[in-house]
Symmetry: C2
């Protein structure tokens, strides 16, 4: 089986069916898995999406909406639906998905939708809307399996089957006391294996991992990945069970955080949507370019300062670009390795120190190697050995600085609590531009002219 990929024939079939009546369209669409329909939606107009959502069975419609990537604005599909139909769909959604989607709408509309829902659903979603989007509370689902510690085996199994009726999947069975305080977890397997008169209390695994509602989502992802958990309970300060976060939510968080890292390291605002339009892209990237323009002027002012040096030795202009360029590349390499390493694991002070030392060594060796090649060029092509020596020193020096800056800047940022990925290649590159120009032109003006 292959993961679903948008096939022209699928899309063509659907586009044709969109011109036919609702019954034919509904029949065709129902052949696909909800996550496949969600992907097909990405290539359809808003109007077509709305029509399909309005004719599908409420359960399937809600699954499609919950599978849609937030970049394609599932919330917009709710806006124009008939209120009754809309409640039907929202009530089929898991509370966490419903909350995520509704939270994207203006407050006015949020209130309207919540009023249409039955009281239990509305109050559950209202309480979830209070949590920050990127915390455990914002990620959790309030539908959990929970059984009282004093239940005996038979009653526990009955209770689990009853509670799981409305849930697609469950992974962990939470054990609580009469005050809804979470005591531990137990596996269905252990309950089934136990003798018939056992009380759940005796089966509890009390050494388990849980998170508070305000825990950062990145922290939750680390826990799930580190301890290989399918699901993790969320509690308040008094250990009352509030909900659960499952591994599939965390996979989405990881994708999101990785996207942010790649974008930030490349000087793009983390909230630019990958499939966004040009207006969003300009808004997200122009400020970084303007910021960089300031630093580019700094680099240019160094060149201006050595105006006469360049005028008397014209070939310097070309070498200057080579040295600055290689410095920028070496810095980007060191930066990528260091930022990625920090984002997977925190480094101790000693590890941080050794990282910078390593990058210094790498810069020295790569700088000397590249510097030697360029030295040979200056020697044989430009017939200027002194120029060659100056270039060798400048190249080596610049690549050492590149290594140190590329590793130390993100490490220091992390220690003072700033996201290290913000030390984008854009900023680091200007750093090596300035030093590259200074080294080459400064040395040339002293040693050659």
């Amino acid at each position: 089986m292959q993961s679903f990929e948008l096939d022209k024939s699928d899309l063509l079939k659907i586009k044709r069916a969109l011109e036919e009546d609702d019954a034919a369209l509904k029949e065709l669409i129902s052949e696909y898995h909800p996550s496949e329909i969600a992907i097909l939606f990405e290539s359809l107009s808003q109007e077509s999406r709305e029509r399909i959502i309005s004719i599908l069975p409420a359960e399937l419609a809600s699954e499609v909406i919950s599978e849609m990537d937030s970049e394609f604005h599932p919330e917009k599909l709710l806006e124009n639906l008939h209120p009754e139909r809309r409640s039907e769909i929202v009530e089929e959604l898991d509370y966490d998905d419903a909350t995520d989607i509704i939270s994207q709408l203006p407050e006015e509309q949020q209130r309207e939708i919540l009023q249409e829902l039955d009281e239990e659903d509305a109050s559950n979603i209202r309480s979830l809307l209070k949590y920050e989007e990127d915390t455990a509370g914002g990620l959790m689902n309030t539908q959990v399996i929970k059984i009282n510690e004093y239940l005996i085996k038979k009653d526990a199994i009955e209770e689990i089957i009853h509670q799981s009726e409305e849930m697609e999947e469950f992974y962990t069975i939470n054990v609580i006391n009469d005050q809804n305080i979470l005591l531990g977890i137990v596996s269905l397997k252990d309950i089934i294996k136990a003798r018939n008169n056992v009380r759940i209390k005796e089966l509890i695994k009390s050494d388990f991992v849980y998170v508070k509602a305000d825990t950062d989502q990145e922290e939750v992802a680390k826990l799930i990945s580190q301890y290989n958990l399918t699901s993790i309970p969320v509690v308040d300060d008094e250990m009352h069970l509030l909900g659960r976060i499952t591994f599939d939510d965390v996979i989405d968080v990881m994708e999101e955080e990785n996207t942010e890292d790649i974008l930030k390291i490349s000087g793009v605002s983390e909230d630019e949507e990958l499939a966004g339009n040009w207006k969003e892209a300009v808004k997200s990237r122009l400020p970084w370019l303007v910021l960089n323009l300031g630093t580019a002027f700094l680099a240019a002012s160094i060149i201006r300062y050595f105006d006469s040096t360049i005028a008397s030795l014209g070939v310097l202009a070309g070498y200057m670009v080579i040295i600055a360029g290689m410095g920028g590349n070496a810095a980007t390499q060191a930066l990528a390795v260091t930022v990625r390493r920090i984002s997977l694991n925190d480094l101790s002070d000693n590890q941080a120190y050794r990282t910078v030392l390593k990058e210094f060594t790498v810069g020295l060796i790569n700088g000397a190697t590249i510097g030697f090649i360029v030295f040979l060029f200056a020697l044989f092509y430009d017939q200027n050995p002194m120029l060659g020596i100056v270039i060798f020193i400048a190249m080596t020096g610049n690549l050492i600085i590149a290594g140190i800056a590329g590793s130390a800047i993100p490490l220091v940022l992390k220690r003072v609590g700033i996201d290290p990925a913000i030390a984008s290649s854009i900023i680091i590159t200007t750093f090596t531009d300035v030093f590259g120009f200074l080294l080459l032109l400064g040395l040339a003006s002293k040693l050659i002219l």
Copy 2:
């Protein structure tokens, strides 16, 4: 609960205990979770690691080894162990983990270790060693729960409990026929809910996701993430059940693939280990720098060609650096957004076309904006309106080219089957260097001088 972070006091305690006798050391270490010990190992010497592994209970030792990041070479801990002790530990490992670790050793040692194992374990590991590391076969565990379609409820539950005895966790129950052909899956919940005389055959969910042993691991990760699966069965061409891959293996694959993307896009070989030493880093990065040196010479040769232009208008050297630099940054931005988007989802031809069009528009607007700022500078600071106009045109042109190159190059690479992340910022940047210099110096030589 917080995810485990290396705390100086933990490390200090352990370093102190390393100077004491085995009993005290063993007691201290046993307080930690295996995945925590694996993280602590990263800060200990090879010698200390070996000592700890040799004194821990075999089960705990094997869990620590399986939790270690491959960058820290868990296989090296097996090399110096007493053969008997080594078999004990390897036999406690899941087959997939044992295979991953053993496959890192030289063939001689692999054979030695396999000979020490009992026949069943050895033959299981031998058969797993045949699969490529980055395929479903290389990722799968052969320990699965499988029950015959004709079992009745009571016998099925007994069989499941019996088979799961040796497994830490299971998620899916596979249903097979007498020929070990996979017919479908069934959930424990459905079995428990069913009437007493039901046959498993009647409960089978036959519409399920599975993969072939040679499926690429990236494909497996996409399926698990798209269909929110805890585990996915692996079969051969005749649908014989070979094993299963679980979500936690896939989380590791995703981290790995994301690391590769970030490294490649920054011009670092994908197989550089983040925590590797300077020798590995030089080996992984120097070839890219040398490759880039070639393209940097190309950029420099354009500057040489316009030697006399720069000599007659000295300020050009500074502006040249600004225009090339801004082009490089804009290209890196477009590249990061495009590469990340492709790696999450394939784009249809139409989506690809619209992506390039979007980047063209972004380049035009950002280029004209930045160009206008620099134009003002040339106008008021250098008092040279014609130079300002040339700069404006060159900046706008270069940022348009940056947008098109940054998006089109990875899209084309993907279509011809090359990893798009290889279009690293290093290569794209030289591209914009060359065009930036050509535009500015070419226009200046025609229009100003």
